[in-house]
């Protein structure tokens, strides 16, 4: 069974129509791992349901 992150990169690359050379996979994976680790720092921080995003659109 493939590693879940490798499988995700493979599936996302196909879904997004990104022509990824297999030789690039280790670096892409390393970058995605860093991003997901940092994103986890953000998502584990509890915000109220009412929290608004920083950019505010004005009609």
């Amino acid at each position: 069974m493939p590693d879940p992150l490798d499988a995700y990169i493979d599936a996302a690359g196909r879904a997004l129509e990104l022509p990824i050379d297999p030789a690039w996979n280790p670096a892409i994976r390393a970058n995605l791992e860093v991003t997901l680790r940092l994103a986890a720092q953000v998502t584990e921080f509890a915000l109220p349901d009412e929290a608004e995003p920083a950019p505010v659109f004005k009609a």
Binding site: L16, L32, E52
Partner: protein
Amino acid sequence: MGIDAWASAREIAGAVARGETSAATIVEAALARIEAHDRAINAFTAVVAERARAWARAVDLACTKGDPPGPLAGVPFAVKNLFDVEGLPTLAGSKINRERAPAARDATLIARLEAAGAVLVGALNMGEYAYDFTGENIHDGPSRNPHDVARMTGGSSGGSGAAVAGGLVPLALGSDTNGSIRVPASLCGLFGLKPTYGRLSRARAFPFVSSLDHVGPLARTAADLALAYDAMQGHDPDDPVCADRPAEPALPALDRGTAGLRVAVAGGYFRRGAFPEAFAAVDLVAKALGATREIELPEAQRARAAAYVITTAEGASLHLSRLRTRARDYDPAVRDRLIAGAMVPATLVDKAQKFRRWYRARVLALFETVDAILAPATPCTAPAIGQQNFVLDGVTLPVRANLGIFTQPISFIGLPVVAVPVPLKPLPIGVQVIAAPWRESDALRVARALERAGIANGSPVA
């Protein structure tokens, strides 16, 4: 004082206005310096000599006719090659953009500097598509630090740092999404201003991350930063982010000193994870300002993480179609980060934008009791060109992503910052003077006071 390679923009403009020299003479000397010395530091990717000579003649003609010469009369300047320069393709440090049609119009900031009498002499090297803190460029070669050409300039505005620190021009423009003005200012020993998000127009500057992109000047003196900043202020409908508020000139109050300004040192996150020289520089500055209070920017590490997530996802969005068709024409280090960024779920980006508003509110509350906050600009002095990793607090980390650990939590919420150069030996390092939104003038006042006290010094290379 004679007008040599190290003359400030203010000295040059004064000498031109008084008729002691001409813009043509100044510009010819700058072009000769670029010809003689740029090979060593690789700052320029294009020199617009004929355009520069023509505009210098126009500035001189205006002086001869008795017209106001402008606050930057005859001052040569250059711009990071992501700014549109009429007649040149806007490279943004890339191979792919070399195929773009020549720009039809100058970027707004170029037009504003030239309207003040300054003279554009060329475009400057940068990290590919600004996704960089090193100043290295696989297509054009690395920009080199004038303090030691075997070392990085920092980036992504690497050519901007090299050109000013190397005495080729007294003024350059850069862009700063996560630290790309402040990092090269720190490693090259220069003053750099990242204004409030939305203060200066980004019109006709190649984007990277719209949520976080800023533009601003680098110079060897605080007064030159203020001069250029004042000349560039003002609303621009061509940049939807540019704020519709009146210009607030910084120069009139620049020499007022720091009386009345409450200065504190950023603690916690900003007091760990760096080499001793980064803290030594902050301590020197704090002592000179009598700043004994330490305050904590809450959740700064999380702020840096959120900026990282937004950057990689928005950067990937900008480049998605090129990644599909031209992936092999990118710098591999940039390409692989962008491809990974394209795969970040939207849920995580939205969370980061919500955290951003939370963090902004908490940090703005700090400015009720303080006017300026001091923090390191970089965790180290200039690393060697090609250096991949450094060890911070016992952890081995990639240089490329981590030179900006102290700048990212600040630009994340658009605060104005002046990076102030502290001339440690053997290499300089910068300190961030961070002010409340729209209070660039406070940060510039502090920078000028430090310069007058001999703590900050942006020139020349010893």
